[in-house]
Symmetry: C2
Subunit: 466 residues, 2 copies
């Protein structure tokens, strides 16, 4: 198979990616001007694909398409432009929006910066590969459309409207997501399932104003006391979720699934060491991998109230998210949580619960889908000494269910992030070698999907009929 | 008794007090330049008393003295220059550092602004009264010293060193505190006891970094889950404090005390209505007043961790304070809490507990102390139609115990704040009428203490011998 020539070193790739990281496209409470600047940067990289920045009711999306192979299948490349908040800025070893090349404790070169691995680097890899096809061969091996959004990290609240309204323009036989992550560094992997997401806020109100703790203390319910009492009822001390009805509809882990998961090489000890904890914690009777791959979660992500002074605050609140698995419907899970909360309201307080937009159910792609076989082959060629693992991820890609509904297309996750690269945390990084490995893998994948056009097209036709 | 002439309206008082409020002397994480500016403003008002701004290892103190009555007793007027943080700025109806005159729902004129009632207004009243003695009579009726600190709202961490080092200079027969508050607006009151204070922080650590809730959720202990579990063990659901040994040494409420408290006119219904709660909450078997006046508290003042995004934070923390009553020693209470926390550390986490400086035991002054009888008479003259109530306060004045230890002097609380004036909360205010009422009362108090010099001086001598 003819091969593209990629650069002999990573200098240009790093320089260009650093420009992109330098635009602080934090979507939570984001600055529209900054989001637009990031979208413009990306659109400029898509100059071969007639890029357009399209407004939504939130932040814009960037779309583009190269349709020079009328007989070939069409793929839609998906990614996101926005990034997570930095978190505590003091925990960053280098400024989050100045991509910095450093050597990791594993001896490997890293590029550190917010968004570098989620999802700016992986998006850059996909786009640069396509650019090189055009530059070196004058054409791509199949038709490629692009869709990059600016709201993935806040649950893609406006993507669904956009995709439904532009379903014809975005239509494709397969979506390839540049978002996601390989779950560990010593085995290339493909994800065949992702979890759904439900987000909600709980607010406890007590007195009608903040009170001086000396003047009122001990006589009125403190909303922080009430909130911690309430939240403490959500889990049993052994790790089980205590919300009745929370996992209704979730099938018990079959022996076959259990065996399959137990056969995956996995070191609990290395996992603990990496996280710096002396024990893992979760539902009893399951190993870490089974917990991560098969079980829903209910996490308190944030809590706040009052301050470090002698106050009884009038309000305290928490942000919670659930990762959902197949069998759970977001609406039913939310209702179960509402019932639980209403049954546990502490004395003397009022409790409000509100649901965030953008919840999604879990998602899966068959392991014999042609996209999975092509991607497996591409990874096997780039990583000849390693076996390609079919994994599931605990994370959520809200777009997958949407693409299935609106475009009738499955989504292949093909990201060159690793799960250990501090996504969403301070000091997020991307391993530098993955830039060129990723480009080579994307090249092979696109060639295989182009070569195998009949199989992909046939599969798409079959699915349309079924 | 000759009377000072105070202004016919409040215009000048409000103008001057507004200048003082405009200096945002927030001591928590305070700006030294701002604190100094506030100290300078106050020192300028003490021009009749040879004012000095004296450095400490923290923010400065302002001292001064007028000693023109060699045969008369000496009082030390205490107050504080610093104020609480504003809290959520969005909850302020007018800018916190622009004192604004408004009409309250009770129809009374109010001055709204941070610190206006705690403790800038009450301090101003005391100083302005003294200024008028000098201006109109050329002398005060007794010797007056002044001590204003800039760290009261953060537990007076450097006041003790200062007072001990300057005990001779500050020596007095009585301390009169311009800080404190009358506990309600329909009866003038004097406080004969205040609670002690102990502050501490609890921090729960889990994994060594913030984690993506999709990539790690359900497999590792979440520090917020652990913190809420831990904090929920501090109280029983019925309101009792669940920390073993917490109130060791606290005598049970005697029948006499209970009867005395129950005889105080107090409307639970009005209390609930004022706070906007449908029930009060606290230790079972006691009314609100008994809870407030006689029982120690353990309040969670602040809690924080993570944020409103899909994170498992690596750390979560809470700030707690205890209001202590007679019989409790801060060290013993802290040790009881440490034992409780260590016995309840949730699985898979590390818990740190640290004590804030500046803890103080509870304080009391005898109800037949000459300062109490003089103050009662002064209030009776200003409020002829109301009975003067001897109350206790749930709040803490760290300076009281210190003055007793270092100067051998009891402290009379003589503030013209009311407890409902949103101390420590957004929209703090002072009733405007209290400016002139307070000045008149201070005038009478100082005259009585000067007239009754033999009784105060004699009492001071008796105490020195005992």
């Amino acid at each position: 198979m003819a091969a593209l020539r990629f650069d002999a070193d990573d200098e240009r790739y790093i320089r260009e990616l650093s420009e992109y990281v330098a635009i602080p496209s934090v979507s939570r409470d984001g600055d529209p001007a900054v989001m637009r600047r990031a979208a413009q940067w990306l659109a400029a990289r898509l100059d071969f694909a007639r890029p357009r920045i399209v407004e939504t009711r939130g932040f814009p999306v960037v779309v583009g398409q190269w349709m020079g192979r009328p007989q070939a299948p069409t793929v839609l490349v998906y990614g996101h432009i926005d990034v997570q908040p930095t978190g505590d800025i003091d925990e960053w070893l280098t400024p989050p929006f100045e991509a910095t090349r450093v050597t990791g404790p594993d001896g490997e070169d890293r590029l550190r910066g917010r968004g570098v691995t989620d999802d700016k680097g992986p998006s850059y890899i996909a786009i640069e590969t396509c650019r090189q096809f055009l530059a070196q061969e004058g054409a791509l091996p199949l038709n490629v459309k692009f869709l990059f959004e600016c709201e993935e990290e806040i649950g893609s609240p406006h993507l669904a409207d956009f995709v439904h309204a532009h379903a014809e323009e975005l239509g494709a036989d397969l979506v390839i997501s540049a978002d996601g992550a390989m779950w560990r560094t010593d085995e290339p992997s493909l994800s065949i399932a992702s979890k759904g997401l439900l987000a909600l806020d709980i607010e406890v109100e007590g007195p009608n104003r903040d009170l001086h703790s000396g003047r009122y203390g001990g006589t009125v319910a403190n909303p922080i006391h009430a909130l911690v009492e309430l939240l403490a009822t959500l889990h049993h001390p052994d790790g089980r979720i205590a919300v009745e009805g929370f996992d209704d509809g979730v099938p018990a882990l079959s022996d076959e699934e259990r065996n399959e998961i137990e056969a995956v090489p996995f070191s609990e000890e290395a996992y603990r060491a990496d996280l710096g904890v002396d024990q893992t914690h979760g539902e009893p009777g399951l190993g870490t991998l089974a917990r991560l791959w098969t079980r829903p979660t209910l996490e308190i992500n944030g809590i706040r109230g009052g301050g470090s002074y002698t106050v009884i605050p009038h309000v305290a609140s928490a942000h919670l998210t659930c990762r959902l698995v197949a069998g759970q419907h977001p609406d039913a899970v939310y209702e179960a949580i509402v019932r639980h909360v209403n049954a546990h309201i502490p004395r003397g307080t009022r409790v409000g619960i509100s649901r965030e937009g953008g919840s999604v159910p879990a998602y899966a792609i068959d392991r014999d889908h042609p996209a999975i076989t092509a991607a497996t082959a591409a990874l096997a060629e780039v990583y000849p000494n390693e076996r390609v693992l079919l994994a599931r991820i605990g994370g959520t890609l809200p777009a997958t269910t949407l693409f299935e509904d609106a475009l009738g297309a499955k989504t292949l996750f093909f990201s060159f992030a690793y799960a250990d690269e501090l996504h969403h945390a301070p000091n997020e990084f991307l391993r530098v070698r993955r830039l060129r490995e990723g480009m080579r893998a994307w090249e092979i994948l696109l060639r295989l999907l182009g070569d195998g056009e009949h199989r992909l097209a046939q599969r798409a036709r079959e699915e349309a009929i079924a």
